[in-house]
């Protein structure tokens, strides 16, 4: 499957010569996506011990951008992630509860350069700066909180399919990604430095709904 995309990509670029379509200067861009996941678990033994666990994660993301010249835009993306976990053990000899609540908020400033392959398809390259704030809270017998912040730089290509002139579906391809990351946690002071480039492609891509609004349409 990876091979397929690597083979396709030059093909797409080759096709680009014929394309006439473009995003005009002044066009506004909106994009949004959400993913959510969760598990509720209830475990009972014959000795009447009961363990209940709840796990929920939700990650919405919205972005806004404006084309400062044809096919080039500046944008900002807000992408929080909320994670909630609770476990509750009850039994003849035990009664334990544990909760954890983590929030990660990322603010991403990005620029994009689009290249149209046909009327419907376009690819883009997106360099971005990522600032993130992390807040975690664990509750067992005592409350324990941790805070952190981080920053990173990413470059990722993506692909856009225009369903109508105003509406499109897009995906970040992550074919080549470079990221630098620094993390600082208040309580246990860690420092992460992490830089990498990969030519690996995942077998699934996150999809985002996006709108391109010009004044004329």
């Amino acid at each position: 499957m990876k091979k397929l995309f690597l083979l396709l990509l030059p093909g797409m670029v080759f096709l680009a010569g014929e394309a006439k379509a473009q995003f005009q200067k002044g066009t506004a861009h909106w994009g949004a996506t959400v993913s959510a996941e969760g598990t509720l678990n209830n475990f009972e033994t014959y000795e009447s011990n009961r363990l209940k666990t709840d796990l929920h994660t939700i990650t919405p993301s919205v972005q806004f951008g404006k084309f400062f010249k044809d096919n080039s835009l500046f944008g900002v993306k807000l992408s929080p992630s909320f994670n909630y976990y609770k476990s509750d053990l009850k039994g003849p000899n035990s009664d334990d509860e544990y909760k954890s609540n983590n929030t990660n908020i990322s603010l991403i400033l990005f620029a994009r350069r689009y290249k149209f392959l046909s009327e419907k398809w376009a690819v883009f390259l997106e360099p971005s700066v990522n600032l993130s704030y992390y807040h975690g809270k664990n509750t067992a017998s005592d409350d324990e909180t941790s805070n952190g912040y981080g920053g990173g730089i990413y470059i990722r290509p993506g692909i856009v399919y225009r369903i109508s002139p105003r509406f499109a579906i897009e995906s970040d391809l992550n074919v080549l990604s470079v990221n630098l990351q620094y993390y600082h946690m208040k309580d246990w002071d860690t420092f992460h430095f992490n830089a990498g480039a990969t030519s690996g492609i995942q077998s699934y891509f996150g999809l985002r709904a996006s709108w391109y609004l010009t004044k004329s349409n």
Partner: protein, 226 residues
């Protein structure tokens, strides 16, 4: 692999649409059938046998040349003959270890590139139910597990077809998005031969706008005479 490259190339490049008027009103069926049997003979161990089948069929109808919808239904059954070793003693097990049923409805829109070849895609809803029994030697905690699993799903899938002749199409799946997935599982585990059951109920949900590229699975579709 070559075929997908070709298909995707055309998907990107082509914009020719040819009227496919003769498809309107046509009914079709496609099915996959699987049968399996395996037998394991290992030194110092008794013979183990597994057997099972699965059948999935979908029935559809073209409303217009570019639109079709229909339903699918599927069933599977598995059994085995094995020896288990609870507490070091040998015991025979023989019987059904699993069965499943599923049904759903799909809507497809078509884009015909030529009279032979085109792509299709659209949403589907499905409900799966399965029952399975895991013998102690197959489960990680050495318990006998009985599991009921029910899962409604909503997604979007895409594929391509190649018309071999008027009656038969070759189809290939190109990708799918499982937008919403919900499942409920009841699992009962017990040490072999006791009634000391532990019971686990699990509810899972997943909202994931992800495009998954599957390994291409090929199918055949047969068109009924009017």
């Amino acid at each position: 692999m070559k075929k997908i490259i070709l298909l995707s190339w055309l998907f990107t490049a082509c914009s020719i649409t040819i009227g496919f008027a003769q498809l309107e009103g046509k009914k079709f069926v496609s099915a996959t059938v699987g049968l399996n049997f395996n037998n394991t003979n290992q030194d110092d161990y008794p013979t183990a046998t597994n057997y099972g089948y699965n059948i999935d069929a979908s029935f559809g109808k073209f409303k217009t040349a570019n639109k079709a919808s229909g339903f699918n239904i599927g069933t599977s059954l598995y059994g085995q003959k094995a020896t288990v070793y609870p507490d070091g003693t040998r015991e025979k097990f023989e019987g059904i270890t699993g069965f499943g049923v599923n049904t759903g409805y799909f809507w497809q829109r078509y884009k015909h590139f030529s009279d032979k070849f085109g792509i299709f895609g659209g949403p589907h809803v499905n409900v799966f139910y399965s029952y399975s029994k895991l013998l102690p030697n197959q489960s990680s905690d050495n318990l006998l597990h009985r599991q009921h699993h029910i899962s409604p799903q909503f997604g979007v899938s895409a594929g391509a077809y190649y018309a071999l002749n008027e009656r038969w199409w070759l189809t290939a799946s190109l990708g799918f998005v499982n937008l919403l997935y919900v499942s409920y599982t009841i699992d009962k585990g017990e040490p072999w031969g006791t009634r000391n059951t532990t019971k686990t109920k699990t509810f899972d949900y997943k909202l994931s706008p992800n495009l998954t590229l599957p390994s291409v699975s090929l199918g055949l579709r047969y068109f009924f005479k009017d």
